[in-house]
């Protein structure tokens, strides 16, 4: 399965450069890509002072670039990403007795967040007004040096060969050490059972169940999995798919110099969340 994924990503990268119409979902992203790349080479990542540990130079390393301007040009698209992801992954919505979303029990894989909360280490003094209106998306950074994986006492959360950090829901003991360890607030806990049903036997908190993805039991941690289940089928992540051909989200192998994402990272100024912590996030933002 790993090989299959690798071959797919290679193919996607190659087809991006050659421009041949490979039947890949990445073609959609490609269109936005050509405009974004410029010939001027720019250094990124490995030489930045924040990346103290050095990044994995070989093998596949999945990454994502989020172009916030494109989200601003397409109002409502950010919410489409959130809804698409949460729908696909059967993320429950817990309501309190008044029918409001209960923040205490909230489970979030990807969500909208203001600039100052997403980047609290950046100065907010005399920032341009537009910045505060921009719809930023927050999700797991799939760090190359993930503190959550270091903290987990059972290897229930682990880094795959392709760089994505995922969960084994059946091994998690629910100690929530990973939640304390994550500097990005990317992890959620099932404080109650998302599988609860009403008297008619319908799931109370999950509407339109996706049969292809498991629901979780109570007492385990969950988070964005970079759509591991879709990538293994050759599909792009659901949030990326939701951005259509806008090029607002570029996803692929950062270690493949020909991949669209590498082209963008090389040619565009991007920022990562809390780079000083040395976690080496795989999610980049264009502002």
């Amino acid at each position: 399965m790993d090989d299959k994924r690798r071959r797919f990503l290679k193919l996607a990268g190659l087809s991006a450069v050659a421009g041949i119409g490979a039947p890949s979902a990445f073609n959609l992203l490609l269109k936005g890509e050509v405009n974004a790349s410029s010939p001027a080479p720019a250094s990124h990542g490995t030489e930045s002072p924040g990346s103290g540990h050095g990044e994995a130079p070989t093998g596949v390393r999945l990454g994502m670039v989020i172009d916030v301007n494109k989200f601003a040009e397409n109002p409502g698209m950010a919410q489409k990403c959130v809804d698409g992801c949460h729908q696909t992954h059967n993320v429950p919505i817990f309501l309190d007795s008044k029918g409001q979303v209960n923040p205490k029990d909230a489970i979030k894989w990807i969500w909208k967040e203001p600039f100052e909360n997403l980047f609290p280490d950046h100065s907010h003094y005399r920032r341009n007004d537009a910045l505060h209106e921009l719809p930023f998306l927050a999700l797991c950074n799939h760090c190359d040096n993930p503190p959550c994986v270091r903290a987990c006492p059972t290897k229930a959360t682990f880094k795959q060969k392709n760089g994505s950090v995922i969960m084994d829901f059946h091994r998690c003991i629910g100690c929530r050490f990973c939640m304390a360890a994550c500097p990005y607030g990317a992890r959620s806990f099932n404080w109650r059972s998302p599988r609860e049903r009403d008297e008619n036997g319908n799931l109370k908190f999950i509407k339109n169940l996706n049969e292809k993805f498991p629901t979780r039991m109570r007492g385990v941690v969950e988070k964005c999995n970079f759509c591991a289940e879709r990538i293994s089928e050759g599909l792009p992540p659901k949030c990326v798919e939701a951005t259509g051909d806008t090029g607002a989200m570029i996803f692929g192998d950062m270690n493949d110099p020909n991949a669209p994402i590498s082209q963008v990272l090389k040619s565009t100024f991007t920022i990562q969340r809390k780079p000083a912590l040395g976690t080496l996030p795989s999610v980049f933002y264009i502002i």
Partner: protein
């Protein structure tokens, strides 16, 4: 030997019944939590550890604090602690038992707890904490029981026990060091990300553990014929006095670093705990009270007149223990979650059921402690009479 625990005065039996009622309330509440999930508690996505992990952290300290009684006796041959070393060891057993129960109460999937052994993960500090805590429990049960049993038989403890006694001393330091490492190795949690956590934990432990022990020993002196002796009492007071001063000194250093460097991330948690942050101040009263209680307790321990008066010493024990409980058993863990990584302030309030479970675990610890102390005191008084 254990039969000594079965008969006692009406006060003894009444105390056991009282504890059992609280334990029962805790068990019933835990059954509800087990049915519903941890949403039964006040914990949330933002404050993902609450009073269970706070109590666990504090009680690791109480367990480690017993070593302050054990060490002078075995290493420095301080004979006056001979009568109370067993109290230190048994206090460690009861405290570690509470720690383990609190961890279990906090797990989302408690039936999978053995995954920590099935999939050993040396890079996780929780894995090491599991090892040191269970190891310390084993060492104290072994040493405490064998030494007491030898006394019961009227002999000195066997030679083979010596290595275990010596091993238990650094092991006591290790349990609280590793517990500190659960917190101080996490990037992005400014309040915990400081190398002084382990020393501060140890200082507060060496004050809190002996305070509890001294208080209980003085209660025993009143209700039984057991007398720890004036020299031992005075020595424990000295130990508590210095350890508590060190703890507050370390806390002062935290304040200096935060407010002199003026780095917002370093100040936020202290702001929240002692002054309130963005209008959120549910712990401010507690944290300030902690300082007042600690100051009063220390004064009573250091003023010659109150230091030599058993009543004021008992009061000082309660004051210092309460102060450190608030500091570590409440503020330390909860403060670390404020603000969240996304710079929101979310406050935590334990639910009623959560408090009942917490009291149930404490009562279980005190039940274990009562029974162990009853056996120990009975054996000692029998031999001495």
């Amino acid at each position: 030997m254990i039969e000594k625990a079965l008969k006692g005065s009406n006060v003894y039996i009444g105390w056991l019944v009282f504890l059992s009622v609280l334990i029962l309330a805790g068990v019933v509440s835990y059954a509800q939590q087990y049915q519903y999930g941890l949403g039964y508690t006040g914990m949330s996505r933002d404050v993902s550890w609450g009073i269970y992990i706070s109590q666990f952290t504090f009680l690791v300290g109480v367990a480690a604090g017993g070593v302050m009684i054990v060490l002078p006796y075995y290493v420095h041959n301080f004979k006056d602690f001979g009568r109370i070393t067993i109290l230190g060891e048994f206090l460690a057993i009861a405290s570690v038992a509470m720690c383990l129960l609190f961890i279990m109460a906090d797990l989302g999937q408690p039936t999978r707890a053995l995954n920590v052994l099935l999939h050993p993960t040396p890079n996780s500090m929780l894995f090491w904490d599991m090892i040191v805590l269970n190891g310390y429990l084993f060492l104290n049960i072994l040493v405490g029981w064998v030494v007491l049993h030898s006394e019961y038989k009227g002999t000195k403890y066997p030679k083979w026990l010596k290595p275990f006694i010596w091993l238990s001393l650094p092991w006591a330091i290790s349990i609280h060091t590793v517990t500190a490492m659960l917190y101080c190795g996490l990037p992005g949690r400014h309040f915990w990300l400081t190398a002084i956590i382990a020393p501060r934990f140890l200082a507060s432990a060496f004050a809190a553990g002996p305070s509890l022990l001294l208080f209980i020993a003085l209660v025993l002196k009143r209700v039984t014929k057991f007398d720890l002796g004036d020299v031992a009492r005075d020595k424990i007071i000295t130990i508590i006095g210095y350890a508590a001063i060190l703890n507050f000194f370390f806390l002062g250093l935290e304040f200096f670093v935060a407010y002199y460097s003026d780095i917002p991330g370093h100040k936020h948690a202290l702001d929240y705990l002692f002054w309130g942050l963005e209008g959120h101040d549910n712990l401010v009263g507690f944290m300030r009270l902690s300082l007042v209680l600690g100051g009063l307790g220390l004064a009573l321990f250091w003023i010659p007149q109150t230091r030599s008066n058993e009543k004021t010493v008992m009061a000082a024990c309660v004051l210092v223990f309460s102060s450190l409980w608030i500091d570590k058993g409440l503020g330390f863990v909860l403060g670390g979650f404020v603000p969240t990584p996304l710079e929101y302030v979310t406050e935590y309030y334990p639910t009623f059921g959560e408090i009942l479970i917490t009291m149930g675990v404490w009562s279980t610890g005190f039940l274990i402690l009562t029974i162990l102390y009853k056996v120990a005191i009975s054996v000692k008084l029998e031999k001495e009479s």
